[in-house]
Amino acid sequence: MDFIISHYNYWIVIFLMMVGLYTVISRGNLIKKIIGLNIFQVSVFFLYISMGTVKDGAAPIITEGVKLYSNPLPHVLILTAIVVGVATTALGLALVVRIKESYGTIEEDEIHEMDHSL
């Protein structure tokens, strides 16, 4: 039971990661694919933050009388990752808008049909 509780975080992380991956590879709509990528990304954030959490630890802001802090380094990494993530999302969505302008659709199979690819 203890083992399940202490690994529940990681299993949910893997579940979210796989939901994101499944959305990216099985859905043809480009906006849906980008949402899938975002879900995948958030799951990675959880993996890092879960590893940095210390039981009964305080948030890593130095306060008098507090001895135990959570690990601040994953927080720093993930802060950077969130901001870079929104930059890539914005770029992806801009590409979707351009694809809509030149193909008239954002469904993957219709685009393949027009290009005679696949």
Binding site: Y10, L16, I31, G52, V54, P60, I78, T80, A87, E101
Partner: protein, 194 residues
Amino acid sequence: MIDLIINIILLTFLAITAIAIIRTTNLFATIMLFGIFSLLSATLFVVMDALDVAFTEAAVGAGISTILMLTTLALTKNHNEKRSHAHRPWLPLAVVTITGMALVYGTLDIPGFGDPAAPANTHVAQYYINNALPETGVPNIVTAVLASYRGFDTLGEVAVIFTAGVAVLLLLGGKPSSPNSNPRTNKKREEDET
């Protein structure tokens, strides 16, 4: 203890929201669900003591990302996802299940959630916890590392954002091409008319 219970409940909500996101075909509803997903993750970051990450996620993930997606939806005027029957779900489902099982096998050796003796928490992190305040004078360790110890990394991050911004402007900022001048759209229109 109460932390752990809140943690487990929020993680379960998160998983349910993710399932709802894949199953919904209305794109507006999907984007709203994604906003809820981001807000839930921000709450969860607070529970896991990552305050700076939580408010960045709330502002950037739940705020800016959702607005960007809604803008895209408004520009593409495509409100429903088309589910073609040609997509068979079995192959992606098999790939995802196998990958997931391999990853779960990998977690069996990871130290449990919140373990103070985990290798990730015992080596380099202690240095920053002990020395960040005397060396930089900033009580918030995350800020101290981000802006002082790793200031150049943050500068690099600004370069990434700038590049992405320039790329988005280049993609969208040009004169909007009239739909009639585009052969592909024309072809599509002819097909639709016939």
